[in-house]
Structures are given as C-alpha cells and as structure tokens.
Symmetry: C2
C-alpha cells in the first residue's frame, strides 16, 4: 500500500512517549492551578529533566510553543491528549478476574483517561455469567464475537502464567491491537500487536540487587 503521507513520520522513541504521558498529567495539574503559560524550563524542573529534552519531545509532533512566551497550558494539554489518544474512548477487554484483575478493574484512573473496560473474560464457572459493576463476565470462547461486537481494541491480561500465552494468541486472533500483560513468565511477543509486559519479579529483583550491593562487605 501507499505511504501514509508524504511527510516522513520519524520513529518516536518510547521514552519520549512515556514522558509525554507525564507532561500531560502535569499540565492537567498546572491548569487546575490556574496557570496559563509555562516554559519548557519550568516544566522540566518539575521532573528534574532538561528543558531541551522537553522541547525536543514536543517537536516530534509539531510546533506548540510561542517564542518568548512558552506554551499555553490548556492548548498544549489538549494537543498531547490528542497525540496520546486520550481524547477518545478505548474499549478495553480485561482477561482474568482474580485478585489482580479485580484490582485493575476497580482502579479508577482508567475510566478517567478514557479506558473503558467493556468486557471481562474469565473461564471460572463461579464467575461466569455474572457482571461486575454492569460489565459482563464472559467465557474466553466468546472473545472473537465480543471483540467485534463491542469494538474492543485493547486488552489487559491478568491471568496465571500458564494461561498467558494462549490468551495472548486468542486476543491477537480476535483482532485486539494492543495488550498490557501482567502475567509473569516469558512470552513470545505477538507480531503486529503492541505488547507490553509489566513483570513484578524483574522490578523486585532489580531492587534486591541494589539492596544486595549495599550490604556487601
């Protein structure tokens, strides 16, 4: 197929995207404080970042600032929300409704940013057919149908380690385009799908490494 555009779309570093997310939340706060404009310097200082980095991160996407002034807080916030896809609702599938799945489901932060958990999938017979806060709990075999019917684009996986790989493949098969996985263990990351694992063990072991180093003789 033809290129999406004549203009080169530079590959955006992941760290830039993560910082955009941080900037956005900060701008929200700044806006609530009634501040109208902010310089890259002021914004950078809130995270001990470099002001050039803030400007460069933003410059990937356009010219949002005004020389001599800085950035208009609410305007920049709106731009970043659009860039991050936070100006719309995403229909989210939650797979696995154990302790962790339930915790994620009740996490209020998601809804606030437009992530709407539209269906829960869990094969536990005790949960099947129930609904949590109006959201139905469905068997995994319904995934292809429901993904289409409910326009599910994103999935959060909170199943035991041994189910993670088949669940991921089922999600990909059902046309899900991005997956956030909390199941431990090594995964083959699927092709053509954004896949991110949050691995508790790695986080903990990184900490224990530094603890262990600190207690060396």
């Amino acid at each position: 197929m033809a290129r999406r555009s004549h203009f080169k779309i530079p590959r955006i570093p992941e760290m830039t995207v993560r910082r955009l997310s941080v900037y956005t939340r900060c701008l929200q706060q700044i806006e609530e404080d009634g501040v109208k404009t902010i310089s890259s310097q002021d914004l950078a200082e809130r995270f001990s970042l470099n002001s050039a980095q803030v400007r460069k991160d933003l410059a990937y996407f356009g010219e949002f600032g005004v020389r001599g002034i800085g950035y208009y807080v609410s305007g920049l916030k709106a731009e970043l929300q659009r860039i991050l896809g936070l100006d719309r609702e995403w229909q989210v599938a939650l797979v696995g409704f154990g302790n962790l799945g339930s915790a994620l489901f009740h996490y209020k932060g998601f809804a606030r940013q437009g992530f709407r958990i539209a269906a829960i999938f869990d094969d536990d017979p005790a949960k099947l057919g129930q609904a949590a806060g109006g959201v139905p709990i469905l068997p995994l075999r319904d995934l292809p149908r429901e993904a289409k019917a409910r326009n599910l684009q994103l999935a959060i996986v909170a199943v035991p380690a041994e189910s993670a790989q088949p669940v991921t493949e089922a999600l990909v098969g059902a046309g899900i385009k991005a997956i956030l996985n909390f199941a431990p263990g090594r995964m083959r990351p699927p092709k053509d799908v954004r896949f991110k694992s949050v691995d508790l063990s790695i986080e903990l072991e990184t900490l224990s490494f530094y603890l262990a180093q600190g207690t060396r003789a």
Copy 2:
C-alpha cells in the same frame, strides 16, 4: 568514610540489572531441561539479544565463562542469584491491603524468589488486627517498631494515590531501604532509598499512543 574497596565498582546500568534477572529465570529453565553448558550466543537468541551484550552484562561482575565452552548453567545461575540478592530471604513490608495489595500478597512468585512478606500495614479498622495467611495486619503507626523488630528491608506500596507520599516518607523514616510503589501519581523520590514506581497509566497511555497513531487518516 573510606571507600568500600580498592577496586573500582563500575556503575551498573539499570538495563543490565534487568537483563540479569531475565537471564537468571532462563537459566533456571535451561537447568531443568538438563542442559549443562550454554554459550552467550544460545542465551542471547532466546531473547533476540546480541551475544556481546550478554557477555558484557556478565563481565561487569566477573569472568564466569570458559572459552571454547560457554557458561556452566547451574554455576552461572548460582552466581547471578547471588549478585541479584536472590540467595537470601528479604523481609518485605506490604503497605495497603485493598484489591491490589491483596493481589500482590497472593502472588506466588515472590516467595519463590526469597521475598517474604513479613508484615502488612493498613489502617482500615475492618482489617486491623486480622492476619492474612499468618501475616499480621498492623496499623501504620507501628511501622517504625515493626520494621526494626522484623528486620524489614523492602516495601511494596499499594495504597491510594493520596496516601503514597506520606506512606513513603514513613517507610524511609523507619529505615526501609528499597520501595516498589504501585500508587498512581507523581512522587518525590526519597533520597538514599531505591525507589521504583510502576505506573499503570503510563503503560496504558503508551499503548493508546500507538493505537492512536495506527488509526491516523
């Protein structure tokens, strides 16, 4: 005070530590499969990494390989476990026993790697004084005493956003040396303490960024 050692301790990149953690789990698997030695090339291929990177990561800590042979699987595993501090038990405080705290408490992976949740702190009167699986649920004001009495070195924070900052400060005050935080929102990272936040919103927003890019006109 005097330097810890005459030998220069190179600063270890965080990404190296994270990979060590991954190597260790992989070696565990390889050992169970009955394989005795493995080359950096073989190991690297399992994660689509470069073999030079594997060798360089290991070389920060010593010479563990044998030229012409590779690495002895169980020997290297043991070395890495020692380096990561997984050859001992760490006493862990879990702060916050809501949905997420409870999920983390029941996560079996921790115990397997020597992270022992020795005390739970939660000020909810309905939970106070109870015990979960033999682990007492205590009020936060007991933290300084209990941290000392139970030799708590590491804390997992799973409290609401608004409590995260005071909780963190209380932990630092009680002498905790490493904190893994799951509470959302911006934190002032404490000094002299290893502090790592896992931020669900950033992960989700990074995914939605790529979704949004993909659905551009």
